[in-house]
C-alpha cells in the first residue's frame, strides 16, 4: 500500500476515511489491523479486498497494481487472489455448505466435478467433511464460520482477509477459528485480520493500528517471529 487515500463526498463535505496510508505485508505474514470505530479500518479492508478503489495512491497485490483496474478485472482479482471471512459469515442461505464453498470456483469457470472435489477437500480441511449437504442455518456459528473459511481457501488465494471473524462467536468457538487461522498460517497462508479485540490481535505477528485515517503505528504481535513488516 503506497500513500493510499480514500475520500468520500457526502453532500458538500469530503470525508477523508483514509488519508495517506502506506505499508507492506510480506507473503506468508499474519497481520492484525486494529483501531477504534470510525478510524478507517473497514475502509482499509474494503480496499485491501478490492471491493473498493482508492481515490489516490497505489495498491500492489502480488506485484500487480490493482488500484486502477476496471470493475471486471477487480472481480477477477477477488476471485483468484483473495479469500474473505466476514463477521457475519455471509453464507448464502439457500445453498448447501458445499455449494457455498463452490461459489468462488463457479465464477472462475472451474468445471463442475473439479469444483465439487476442491470444495469437498476445503471442507475436510476445516473438519466439516461430514456436513457438506447441510444448509448454513442447520449449523452452529462456529461451523458456519469454518465453512466460510473453507470458502475463502478454496481458490487458493494470495491473501486471506478476515473482518472481525470472531465477532459473532462465543469465546470457545472463537478460539477454534483462531486456531484454524494459526494452522493456515503455519501452512503458509498470508492472513490480514481486522479486529478490535486485543486478544485476537495478539495472535498475529504484527499489529497495525489505524487512527483517523492514518497509520498510527505498527507493533509486534503476541507471536512475533521476526517476520518482515515496515512502518509508514
Amino acid at each position: 500500500m503506497q500513500d493510499v487515500h480514500r475520500h468520500y463526498t457526502m453532500g458538500d463535505s469530503v470525508v477523508r476515511a483514509l488519508d495517506g496510508i502506506s505499508f507492506e505485508v510480506e507473503r506468508g505474514a499474519y497481520w492484525a489491523i486494529m483501531g477504534p470505530s470510525g478510524s478507517g479500518k473497514s475502509t482499509l479492508l474494503n480496499l485491501l479486498g478490492c471491493l473498493d478503489r482508492p481515490t489516490t495512491g497505489a495498491y500492489l497485490l502480488g506485484g500487480e497494481d490493482v488500484s486502477r483496474l476496471t470493475d471486471d478485472r477487480l472481480s477477477e482479482v477477488r476471485s483468484t487472489k483473495l479469500g474473505f471471512v466476514f463477521q457475519s459469515f455471509q453464507l448464502i442461505q439457500q445453498l448447501s455448505i458445499l455449494e457455498n464453498v463452490e461459489v468462488p470456483l463457479f465464477y472462475q469457470g472451474v468445471a463442475p466435478h473439479e469444483s465439487r472435489e476442491r470444495a469437498r477437500k476445503a471442507l475436510e480441511r476445516v473438519n466439516l467433511g461430514d456436513r457438506v449437504h447441510h444448509r448454513p442455518n442447520e449449523l452452529s456459528g462456529g461451523q458456519q464460520q469454518r465453512a466460510a473459511v473453507a470458502r475463502a481457501l478454496v481458490n487458493q488465494p494470495i491473501v486471506l482477509l478476515a473482518d472481525e471473524p470472531t465477532g459473532n462467536l462465543d469465546s470457545k468457538t472463537a478460539r477454534e477459528i483462531l486456531d484454524l487461522f494459526d494452522e493456515l498460517h503455519a501452512q503458509g497462508s498470508t492472513i490480514l485480520l481486522v479486529t478490535h479485540d486485543p486478544g485476537v490481535a495478539s495472535r498475529a505477528e504484527w499489529v497495525l493500528r489505524v487512527m483517523d485515517g492514518k497509520l498510527d503505528r505498527v507493533e509486534p504481535g503476541g507471536r512475533h517471529r521476526a517476520a518482515a513488516g515496515t512502518g509508514a
Binding site: L51, S79, T80
Partner: protein
C-alpha cells in the same frame, strides 16, 4: 462456455423455483396475455376461414346480379295497378351476354315459391328456373341423377332436380329418381337430387341461404307454366309482382377481370334501369377482399390488446424482480465479493425473468390451446384454428418480454456497491 451458460440457467431456475407460488403469480400476466392471443387468433382465423369458404362457394369468378323490390316510393301508381313490375329482364340477360366480352356465361335464374307434393307428402320448395350451365358456375354437386340439359331447355321438358331437403321430405324411403311430383299444379319428373348446400347471400350481415329447398327446372318450362306474374296473398290483399328474372350470374373467365367487368355491368344496368334501383350487384371476389381486410383489422386490434396485456405482464415481472433484487442484496454482495462480475449478476437475474416470462408463455400456450379446444363445445358456430405461427410468435414475444422487463432489475442488481450490499440486512 456452454457449461457456464447451463449453470447460470440452473441458477436462474433455482431462483424461480425457490418461490413457486410467487413465480407463478408473477408470470400470470404473461400467461393470460399469451393464452388470449392464441385463443383469439385461433377464433379469428376460424371465423375468417368460414367466411372465406362461404364466399368462395359463391364462386370468385362470378358476379351476381339480383332483382330487388324497389322501395315503395311512387306507391300511388303501384297501388292503382296493384302490380309491381321490377327487376331484371330477359333483355338484360341478352344484352350482357352480347356486350360484355369477358362474360363467359350468363346464367339467368327465375325463382317461384310453390308447394312440392308427392302422393300425400308435401314440402315447401322454391322452384328455380334456370339453364344447364347453372351447375358449373355454382360449384354444385349432384347426389344422384343428372342436371337440366340443353334439350330440356329446348323442348321445355317438365323435369326437375330436387334440393336435398325437398328430396328427403318428399321421399323419405323411396328412390326419388323417375317419380312424378307436383310443383303447384304442374307435374314434373324428378331427374336428379342435389347434395345439401348453403351459401352466403352476399348481404352485409353475412346471412346464409339454404339452397337445399331449391327445385331446379328448365327456365323455359318455368316460364311457360307460371308466366311472369307472381301473385302473393298476404293479410287479405293480393299483391302481384312481375319479375322476369330473379337473378343473373355472370361468370368471368379471368379472375383478374372480375372487378372491371362488374364495374361495366353496373353502368350498363344503370342505363337500362334508370327509373328505379330494382337490382343489386354482388361481387364475391370483393366480398372476399373485404373479409381479408376485416381480418387484418381484427388482427391489428388483437395485436394492440396483446401488446397491452404483455406490457402489463412485463411490468408485473419488473416489479417482482425489483423486490427480489432488494431481498437478495446480501447474496449479490457475497457473490460479488467472491468474484462475480457484473455480467454474472446480470445473467443470473435475467435468466430468472426470462424463465418467469418464458414459463408463463409456455403455460399460456397450453391454456390458449385448451381454450381453442373448449370454445367449440360452448359455441358450436366457432371453429378455432390455432396456427403454428401464433404459438411460435407468442413464445418468442414472452421471452423478449422477459429480457426487456428483466434488464432494469438485473442492472440494478449488478451495479450495487458490493460493500453496501454486504452490509445490507
Amino acid at each position: 462456455m456452454i457449461t457456464t451458460a447451463l449453470r447460470t440457467f440452473q441458477l436462474g431456475l433455482r431462483g424461480v423455483a425457490r418461490h413457486g407460488l410467487r413465480s407463478l403469480l408473477t408470470s400470470l400476466g404473461v400467461l393470460f396475455g399469451v393464452a388470449s392471443v392464441i385463443a383469439m387468433l385461433a377464433i379469428g382465423e376460424g371465423l375468417s376461414h368460414d367466411v372465406q369458404a362461404r364466399i368462395q362457394a359463391l364462386g370468385s369468378n362470378n358476379i351476381l346480379v339480383r332483382s330487388i323490390k324497389p322501395p315503395e316510393s311512387n306507391s300511388a301508381a303501384a297501388e292503382r295497378s296493384r302490380m309491381s313490375v321490377y327487376g331484371l329482364t330477359y333483355d338484360d340477360a341478352e344484352r350482357i351476354q352480347k356486350t360484355l366480352p369477358n362474360a363467359q356465361v350468363v346464367v339467368p335464374v327465375r325463382a317461384i315459391y310453390q308447394d312440392a307434393r308427392y302422393v300425400d307428402r308435401r314440402s315447401d320448395a322454391r322452384v328455380v328456373g334456370t339453364v344447364p350451365w347453372f351447375g358449373e358456375t355454382n360449384q354444385f354437386t349432384l347426389a344422384s341423377g343428372r342436371f337440366v340439359t340443353e334439350i330440356d331447355l329446348e323442348v321445355r321438358s317438365p323435369v326437375c332436380v330436387l334440393g336435398f331437403t325437398v328430396a328427403r321430405e318428399l321421399f323419405p324411403l323411396e328412390e326419388p329418381l323417375g317419380k312424378l311430383i307436383k310443383l303447384g299444379t304442374q307435374a314434373f319428373r324428378v331427374v336428379g337430387v342435389m347434395q345439401p348446400r348453403t351459401v352466403l347471400t352476399g348481404d352485409e350481415q353475412g346471412t346464409m341461404e339454404d339452397l337445399s329447398r331449391d327445385v331446379y327446372a328448365p327456365l323455359t318450362t318455368v316460364r311457360e307454366y307460371w308466366g311472369e306474374i307472381i301473385v302473393k296473398v298476404s293479410s287479405g290483399s293480393r299483391d302481384m309482382e312481375q319479375v322476369e328474372l330473379h337473378q343473373l350470374q355472370v361468370r368471368v373467365a379471368d379472375v383478374k377481370r372480375v372487378e372491371i367487368t362488374a364495374a361495366v355491368l353496373r353502368e350498363m344496368l344503370q342505363a337500362s334501369h334508370k327509373t328505379k334501383p330494382d337490382y343489386e350487384v354482388v361481387v364475391p371476389l370483393s366480398l372476399l377482399r373485404d373479409a381479408e381486410e376485416t381480418k387484418k383489422d381484427f388482427n391489428r386490434v388483437l395485436g394492440a390488446i396483446a401488446g397491452i396485456s404483455l406490457l402489463i405482464g412485463g411490468i408485473g415481472i419488473t416489479n417482482v424482480m425489483l423486490a427480489t433484487v432488494t431481498e437478495r442484496t446480501r447474496e449479490i454482495g457475497i457473490r460479488r465479493a467472491l468474484g462475480a462480475k457484473r455480467k454474472h449478476i446480470v445473467a443470473q437475474f435475467l435468466v430468472e425473468t426470462v424463465v418467469l416470462a418464458g414459463g408463463g408463455g409456455v403455460l399460456g400456450m397450453a391454456l390458449g390451446w385448451l381454450i381453442t379446444v373448449l370454445v367449440p363445445k360452448i359455441n358450436a358456430k366457432l371453429h378455432p384454428m390455432p396456427t403454428q405461427e401464433s404459438y411460435v410468435l407468442s413464445f418468442v414475444i414472452s421471452v423478449v418480454v422477459g429480457i426487456v422487463f428483466g434488464l432494469y432489475p438485473a442492472w440494478r442488481a449488478a451495479t450495487m456497491d458490493p460493500v453496501e450490499a454486504l452490509r445490507h440486512e
